[in-house]
Symmetry: C2
Subunit: 359 residues, 2 copies
């Protein structure tokens, strides 16, 4: 592990994106999206993803200095062509529009086509929640999820995020892939040489596997719920719902038409679809924030099955990670990440990250 | 098992509701909601629920002849007080408003308080889809779901439904509880004297149980995803999201404040919250219906892991059940249901259902 000052990681990511020709505004926005994932304890969506974005730009699969444009608009909706910009640029554009419409009519519902990977979905839902709205963000992704009974994948990990503001500084923060787990969790078990639980992944024969190496090599994830007996078809249905909101509504690539997952920038433009929703809770019953906080605080004080594992409200883990990161002013990375970032610095002729400790 | 002509079941349910003073329109609407669940193969939400509604009316916990009213309205939103009418009356009122607003602005988002159990969520989402919209319906319910790590329940089975129209007569039909399974599935295993899979339910000690009798007696369901290792906290998060849209937004009872599940009408008005959403897909990319149908047909032709179990699109099971019921003009009920309906007929002095076969 190595620790790096949070501001230094942002400097490094911004420099890398600038080095491949990204405008300052777009680079800063993308770097903020990534550092927030590291800060919240989701390193798979942080610095770890930088090289993917850089490669997409270098190969011309992403055009970071284009401008998104509105293709069609009504009082509460907008259809946007992201014009192949970075996911952060596309998503700020989309969510800003959704918020504006929610201010006017109570709801904004925006679909975006022609976009790229837009990081942690919760970042976008939180953007609306920070302004007092119920924020929602959805995106489709490369096929990794096997529909129930299927031998092969046909949908992405298609995340759902819903964030809403409570009183007393509380908030509801849900950000979840519609697969049981992300590939990263399987990778961790493989590195430790340990098995995975049933219901995470399938082997090449289409059957559930508990062998982490086979699961990692196959990269065929099971939907939330696992197998058919434990209602995995519900997770499949949720993943399909996300694609309905994103790819199918926006006319981007969808489902099995999305390019395979790649770090190399090969396969041409991703043409992903996103969906951003903002709803104004003030249009309904007064006291929304207090009721939300009452619920959150009720969940936390429920008697736990195991006294050493208290019940958590959605987002509690992330908030704790963020508090620790902020208190230290640093984020931590595994050795492999530190090394690959050093190699990237060299490749792009950018000042390497100053690692405080370890390596 | 006993078979009953579909029209005869509707006649019987309408007569029972009329016998306890429900207006004809409200009785007919509620009976249609119930028969559709039986037709689609979800008997837990059909005739099986009639007595619950009757008891709520008899005890005065539900006032079927009241009128719902709009408390607050904007271009795309409405906040409705159902005034303690039957769930079907409240939900037609709510979804009609959502559709009207979606026609005007692209989106309608309606929350309803002061309502009663509104049956199968898919019925309401389909109402919007039948008119060309993406329809969504959510409702909170009595606490049965234990948040991850909790010994006791704090949320309902809180269903999510999303229905959307495709081309070539296809449609996307998702209607799912956010628990792994409904209590009815545990009851079926108990009656057969068979165990239940891990991840369905907890025992009184808060631990997962595979004993169907203990699970049924405890009635403490696990969220979709099961235990923490298989991401059950995502199902918990989804159930909480549904309550955020329903109880917390509308100011109805919410979460642990909802009355315990009861068939007797005791415990006073349920004061449940619903949320109805309609989104006009024509406000986004042309070709929505074709892309949806392409996805649905792609899923069905995926190579299955077990050649005798073809991959199903969300809603395929329900559509097959409906086709069979319609071809026969009948629905089937277990002996216990036939008997309890006969007893209800006697109690209410209503002409009993004419059972074609069996008993």
């Amino acid at each position: 592990m190595g620790k790096v000052a949070t501001a230094e990681v942002v400097r490094f990511m911004t420099d890398c994106l600038r080095a491949v020709g990204t405008s300052e505004k777009a680079a800063v926005q993308q770097a903020d999206l990534l550092i927030q994932a590291d800060r919240l304890g989701h390193p798979s969506h942080g610095l770890n993803r930088l090289e993917l974005y850089v490669n997409d730009i270098v190969k011309g699969a992403c055009q970071p200095n284009n401008e998104p444009k509105v293709l069609k608009e009504s009082a509460s909706t907008a259809w946007v062509d992201a014009n192949n910009v970075l996911g952060a640029t596309a998503s700020h554009f989309g969510m800003d529009l959704a918020i504006k419409k929610a201010r006017d009519t109570g709801v904004g519902w925006v679909t975006v086509k022609g976009s790229n990977h837009n990081g942690m979905a919760g970042y976008w839902a939180k953007k609306a929640a920070d302004k007092g709205f119920i924020g929602m963000a959805f995106t489709n992704t490369s096929p990794l999820l096997a529909p129930t009974r299927s031998k092969q994948p046909a949908l992405g990990t298609n995340p759902i995020s819903v964030v809403a503001p409570g009183s007393q500084g509380e908030s509801f923060y849900l950000d979840m892939a519609t697969t049981a787990v992300a590939v990263g969790k399987i990778e961790m078990q493989m590195r430790k040489g340990e098995p995975i639980p049933s219901g995470w992944a399938q082997g090449p024969d289409g059957k559930e596997t508990t062998d982490s190496q086979i699961a990692f090599d196959t990269s065929c994830l099971m939907p939330l719920g696992g197998g058919e007996q434990t209602s995995g078809y519900k997770g499949f249905g949720l993943s399909a719902m996300v694609d309905l909101f994103c790819g199918i509504s926006s006319g981007s690539n969808y489902g099995h038409h999305v390019r395979a997952w790649s770090h190399s920038g090969d396969g041409g433009p991703a043409n992903l679809g996103h969906c951003f929703v903002a709803v104004d809770p003030q249009r309904f019953a007064p006291g929304f924030r207090d009721r939300l906080t009452d619920s959150i605080q009720h969940w936390r004080q429920l008697e736990p099955t195991n006294p050493s594992l208290p019940v958590l409200a959605p987002g509690d883990k992330e908030k704790l990670n963020a508090r620790i990161a902020d208190a230290n002013g640093t984020v931590s990375y595994v050795k492999q990440q530190i090394e690959s970032s050093a190699a990237l610095a060299k490749r792009l002729n950018v000042k390497p990250m100053n690692v405080i400790q370890g390596q």
